[in-house]
């Protein structure tokens, strides 16, 4: 029947975010972290001790967002030293850039690392193959969300495809289980050159809680060059969108 559909449509209204470059997340969101040094660093030591992934170094003071699970517990223990902001622009081409120091006021994208052919070839259309390698489904759902009615990243030609043959790159989520190491490798090899590697989520970047587990095999990341690192537990759709737009030359951070 048509009437119920009109009702749904009316209530639905307009949902898309008109300008993806102009999005502010709720104050509660835990994104980029800001560090400040104090003369007494005992709070930081306590925070470093409880951090479940040893993401905090006390001397010199730094926090690795590639290991961080954004649980926020350290900020509660060392409120003078550690503060989470709602800045979601935390992706980078450089793994080191994810390590925040008291001097960091924004995450450096390191545009110079972007291979020349990437914006040229993929600036108008980028098709990606996602491989979940022991991801816990939250990062995967957020990647799905990038194409939904709200974010609609498809408007820039960025989409996920089923076949690696149709893809220009791979997006890896999860700490990479042993059983997925080979399928991931086969999938990546099936993607035609030139191709990109995006590592999405803190668990994928550093192994997260499973970094030491005997059930994971992270050799893929030693073998291949990574073009984009996107922290988060899970990575927020806006972090993904911002990172990819910078990578393919649609904006400059």
């Amino acid at each position: 029947m048509i009437l119920p559909k009109i009702k749904v449509l009316k209530s639905h209204g307009w949902q898309y975010i008109p300008d993806l470059n102009n999005v502010t997340l709720t104050e509660e969101f835990r994104g980029r972290v800001e560090l400040s040094e104090t003369s007494d660093m005992s709070d930081v030591e306590a925070a470093a001790k409880i951090c479940p992934t040893q993401a905090i170094t006390t001397v010199p003071f730094s926090l690795d967002m590639g290991r961080c699970l954004f649980c926020g517990e350290c900020a509660l223990r060392a409120p003078r030293n550690i503060r989470f902001t709602n800045d979601y622009k935390i992706g980078s081409t450089s793994r080191e850039a994810l390590i925040v120091t008291p001097q960091t006021k924004s995450v450096d994208f390191h545009q110079q690392n972007v291979r020349k052919e990437i914006p040229k070839l993929f600036g108008r259309a980028l098709k990606l193959r996602q491989v979940s390698a022991a991801g816990d489904a939250s990062v995967e759902m957020e990647l799905n969300a990038t194409g939904n009615v709200n974010f609609d990243f498809g408007r820039y030609g960025v989409e996920f495809v089923a076949s690696p043959r149709h893809a220009d790159g791979v997006v890896i989520t999860g700490p990479i289980s042993k059983s997925m190491a080979e399928p991931l490798d086969i999938c990546f090899k099936a993607i035609p050159d030139p191709k990109i590697v995006i590592v999405c989520g803190s668990e994928a970047i550093s192994g997260g809680l499973y970094a030491q587990s005997k059930a994971v095999d992270r050799s893929f990341l030693e073998k291949y060059h990574v073009d984009l690192w996107l922290p988060g537990t899970p990575t927020h759709p806006m972090t993904f969108i911002d990172g990819v737009m910078n990578l393919i030359g649609l904006k400059k951070r």
């Binding site: 009702k7 639905h12 939250s138 059983s179 668990e203 030491q212 059930a215 994971v216 537990t233």
Partner: protein
């Protein structure tokens, strides 16, 4: 008595209280008991204890809210095969398979003796996921379709092997284990309770609140530091928000897979609104960071209570419109109705749980059978049951549960006064040599966490059961006889967890 009897609100139990019986006695008892609908096994596992292997079996009685625990032991390298319970009650297959995989204990006449998840610490290292022993049928008119481990969409991996007769599925076998991360082992490898808490949130990211609550409950039973009443109510709200978000997401996915774009986008927007509500409460769209043992970092404030109430009321109204629309769209009903049928008897036999079981008329729901948090006290929960057991029934259970969850949230929050809250507790010592059992009903179904501590009160064994462990078999049965092109909607109607199964 061969069982120790407790319930879901009780404290942890010292291990010496748990009866150690003969396997034969337990076998005889379960043989009879499990034919009755009110009983099912919540968990059954083995662990090394001193010089032996001790097996724990946790039985639930839905009629009396009892949790019944029994155990038996055997020497290592004892060369006897235990008569298989799976042979009588197929519902036990994942448990017996896990025991065989990890400890090489054989079960006599076990009809489906296959690896469960190719755990890294399995006994038989020659058995690898690439040579999973798929069932085969010979026949000129048959062909096989292999899907996975990597699937077409952005979802987790798993290998599906269809045996088809023309377009119709004769048999589907699902081989899992690709997502195995060694979660249970990581729990025991650390003393950092915050790390353990975060591990529980990562068991299945779409059920972070559910598994988080199960872990918190398991710890509180061991530390004796119970959650206060307000905290219990907050957790109930968080759980029902998670249920709403996932059921709405799956309603949308079911629309996507039949090409119904209006339903799809309306649900996408409503799910966004639901998870953004959770995010505005705790900073994470999946509720990570919200559940902590014995306390909270994110107590509800007056403003947040109002924000949640307003959003939930709007989501409920708009979602109900989508539900009405689906119910009156003949082309949708033609796809959903009488597709992927799992009759009640079958669901019962394989031990189906949660919303999928309820769609087949099996009234299994921890919220009513083994109450916890605000269920059974403030909320008099009545499960939503459908009889048909098809895709439509599973969709309708979801639809009704979304509305019910919205009502529960409103009921709790409409007379909620924020009070002084406690901070999380990561340091309290845990009761030594004890077993703690936490049961809860996630949006998929029954979640069971079991923690066993050693002489120092350190977690020595941590066992997790996600409802998917039981329900994957229901999906395999649902598609029998259906066109293979109906697989996607069947899959979405269950939406099971790979990582929750593989651990």
């Amino acid at each position: 008595m061969i069982y120790y009897i407790t319930d879901n609100r009780n404290q942890a139990i010292h291990l010496r209280e748990i009866p150690e019986v003969d396997y034969a006695a337990l076998y005889e008892d379960l043989k009879e008991r499990l034919t009755q609908e009110q009983y099912h096994v919540a968990h059954y596992f083995a662990r090394p204890e001193e010089q032996k292997l001790r097996f724990y079996l946790i039985l639930l009685d839905d009629a009396t809210a009892q949790i019944m625990i029994s155990s038996f032991s055997m020497e290592y390298y004892e060369d006897i095969a235990l008569p298989s319970l799976t042979a009588l009650h197929p519902a036990l297959h994942p448990f017996e398979r896990e025991i065989t995989e990890l400890y090489n204990v054989e079960f006599d006449s076990m009809p489906w003796n296959k690896p469960l998840r190719f755990a890294f610490n399995r006994r038989n290292r020659n058995s690898t996921i690439d040579n999973y022993p798929f069932y085969t049928i010979e026949g000129e008119s048959l062909h096989e379709v292999n899907v996975g481990p990597i699937h077409a969409g952005i979802i987790e991996p798993g290998a599906f092997r269809f045996i088809c007769n023309g377009e119709n599925v004769l048999h589907l076998e699902i081989a899992l284990g690709y997502q195995h991360r060694g979660v249970e082992n990581e729990f025991t490898a650390t003393d950092n309770r915050l790390r353990q808490m975060l591990l529980s949130e990562s068991i299945a990211g779409d059920s972070a609140v559910s598994h988080g609550v199960a872990f918190a409950m398991a710890m509180e039973k061991l530390s004796g530091k119970k959650a206060d009443e307000n905290l219990e109510r907050e957790r109930t709200v968080a759980l029902e928000l998670e249920r709403m978000a996932m059921h709405i997401a799956d309603t949308g996915a079911l629309c996507t897979d039949v090409g119904y774009q209006l339903g799809q986008v309306a649900c996408e927007a409503l799910r966004t609104m639901t998870i953004n509500t959770t995010q505005a409460w705790c900073g994470n769209r999946f509720g990570k960071g919200l559940i902590r043992p014995s306390g909270t970092n994110k107590p509800l404030t007056k403003e947040k209570v109002e924000m949640i109430r307003q959003n939930v009321a709007q989501i409920k109204r708009r979602y109900n419109e989508v539900r009405e629309d689906i119910k009156t769209s003949a082309s949708l009903l033609a796809r959903y109705e009488q597709c992927g049928n799992v009759p009640k008897q079958e669901m019962q036999r394989i031990g189906g749980v949660g919303m999928a079981a309820r769609a087949s008329g099996v009234s299994r729901d921890i919220r009513s059978s083994h109450p916890y948090l605000a269920y059974g006290t403030e909320l008099k929960h009545e499960s939503i049951i459908k009889r048909q057991g098809d895709v439509m029934a599973r969709l309708m259970v979801r639809c009704r549960e979304v509305l019910q969850s919205a009502d529960y949230i409103e009921q709790i929050l409409s007379n909620y006064t924020p009070a002084e809250s406690h901070l999380p507790d990561y340091d309290s010592p845990l009761k030594e040599e004890s077993i703690s059992i936490a049961l809860m009903e996630g949006w998929r179904g029954e979640i069971c966490h079991v923690a066993i501590t050693d002489k120092e009160g350190k977690i020595e064994t941590y066992k997790i059961k996600d409802p998917s462990l039981h329900n994957w078999l229901a999906l395999a049965l649902a598609v029998r006889g259906e066109g293979i092109s109906d697989f996607p909607i069947n899959n979405k109607s269950f939406n099971l967890s790979y990582c929750g199964h593989d651990l």
